[in-house]
Symmetry: C3
Subunit: 206 residues, 3 copies
């Protein structure tokens, strides 16, 4: 994998680890519980992707840097976030949005690198992008973000489609990655800020 | 895989995708959320089965038709089910029952084809049959069907045992599949209609 | 694998199957539901470990004894636990603690046997130790033990670190296993008895 994609991947890991640590802090977990929740959030989606693709052992077993980034992120969170005891309301969703955009593109890139079709690349981007957050929310008994009415899976799917199209059209990797990541991020952040939602599929509960 | 089993597999995929879409509609999810929930319901159980067996990449990565069937099912659900805004009470459990019966038999068939024992075939049928529905219910914060007191896992286990016995006794594939599927379906539908349940294992909460 | 480790592994399977059966009894599940919940609790963590490591088919597909131990445990639980209808308050957490300690050490041992690093061994011990219990709690809609403030993941992590260090320092397998298992068990049982907890990472809910 190219070095700068690897760098982005570690950034996404840190961001999702932070979002897991913040969620853990809201449930008053102890430091080792924080590590667990930060880890499943940061490497859960990619682990599911690798297990489904059969590229095992999964990425973080082959490369210890991911676990090290998570431990460092949790350590910094425990030291620096602790004091104020009040994290601004949007910190968790915004951290989650950055992770979503980064991991979506990285998941799609890995699938295309394996020679898989564009459709599967979009799905792998989606799994990588939303998988960790879904596990985090289920463990914390939150309503999974993906279930809330705001645009969420949509941002990941658009990012994945954007990346796949850009690569197919022959754009340079860096340009494709930047375009796709920024579009997914803008869609998601706009949805957070203005509570955008697509028209819902609604059935009466019977 | 024989063609008609493949056809049944795609039918089961459509039926479970529909049950996921219906569940999504009850939570007012947007169209892309509906796609996600329909997908995990339809291919979740088989994905777990393939990951455990190590037959990776999992089936829907190797064959794009499964994703296409899901997308088509969701599109039809969005167009046709939307209007009346009221789906009969039993639609979701009945769709789920068909998927349960179909996927149980297909999961058992795949295990036997790999030369695994009858006991493992029953377990693989169970995982394939109930896996997707469990993920759907967890994501929707419903009590998983498997936890409710009605006969559910039981129907899948009986279907799996039936198929395994029928194959072992040398019955033709088609006959074995039809017998097992119908018996699982009848057991489950009867349980839905008459609220049948086995005697419960009950402990006082302390 | 050495025979006595295999014996401990089957003991851990029985203990976790019992904890799953007890949880099922509190939800009044029928006998087949009890089997399902006992199974996911007993083999869930190890299955996730094997799927992540790529040592597939996962352990219980290769060796039917695990399923047989689970079925026997459930049968005994259904027969013997049923009558008094009242299980002492600490039975479930204590059974869970034994399983946690046993499976942690066995997960770490498997990773070291594959030549993986000590850090990954600790993580694999943690996944094996806590994975099944987390799935059980999610299915039962309990707050996962790992989320409760008592020392839980901590006991597993300490057990895993203990085992890895002991092996690295050249202690005999049996000594390392006994030391690590006892320390994890003592930490967890002490936490249950005296409600010990580490200082929590706490953020105000905003």
């Amino acid at each position: 994998m190219k070095e700068w994609i690897y760098f982005f991947d570690l950034c996404g890991t840190a961001v999702f680890a932070l979002s897991g640590a913040l969620a853990a802090g809201r449930h008053r977990m102890d430091p080792f519980g924080v590590i667990v929740l930060a880890s499943v959030t940061a490497i859960g989606g990619g682990s599911i992707r690798d297990a489904l693709l059969g590229t095992t052992p999964v990425f973080w077993i082959r490369d210890p840097n991911y676990i090290i980034v998570i431990l460092a992120t949790v350590l910094l969170a425990l030291i620096f976030i602790r004091r104020p005891k009040k994290v601004p309301q949007y910190t968790l969703p915004v951290a989650d949005a950055f992770g979503l955009a980064l991991f979506t593109v990285i998941g799609a890139e890995k699938a295309l690198n394996l020679g898989l079709s564009g459709m599967i690349a979009v799905v792998m981007g989606l799994i990588t992008g939303v998988g960790g957050g879904i596990i985090r929310d289920i463990l914390c008994r939150q309503i999974p973000m993906i279930l809330r009415t705001e645009i969420y899976a949509t941002a990941s799917i658009f990012g994945g489609i954007g990346y796949t199209c850009a690569i197919t059209w022959g754009l340079a990797d860096k340009v494709a990655l930047a375009l796709a990541m920024i579009s997914a991020l803008v869609i998601r952040l706009a949805a957070i800020k203005w509570h955008l939602r697509l028209p819902a599929f609604e059935l009466k509960k019977t």
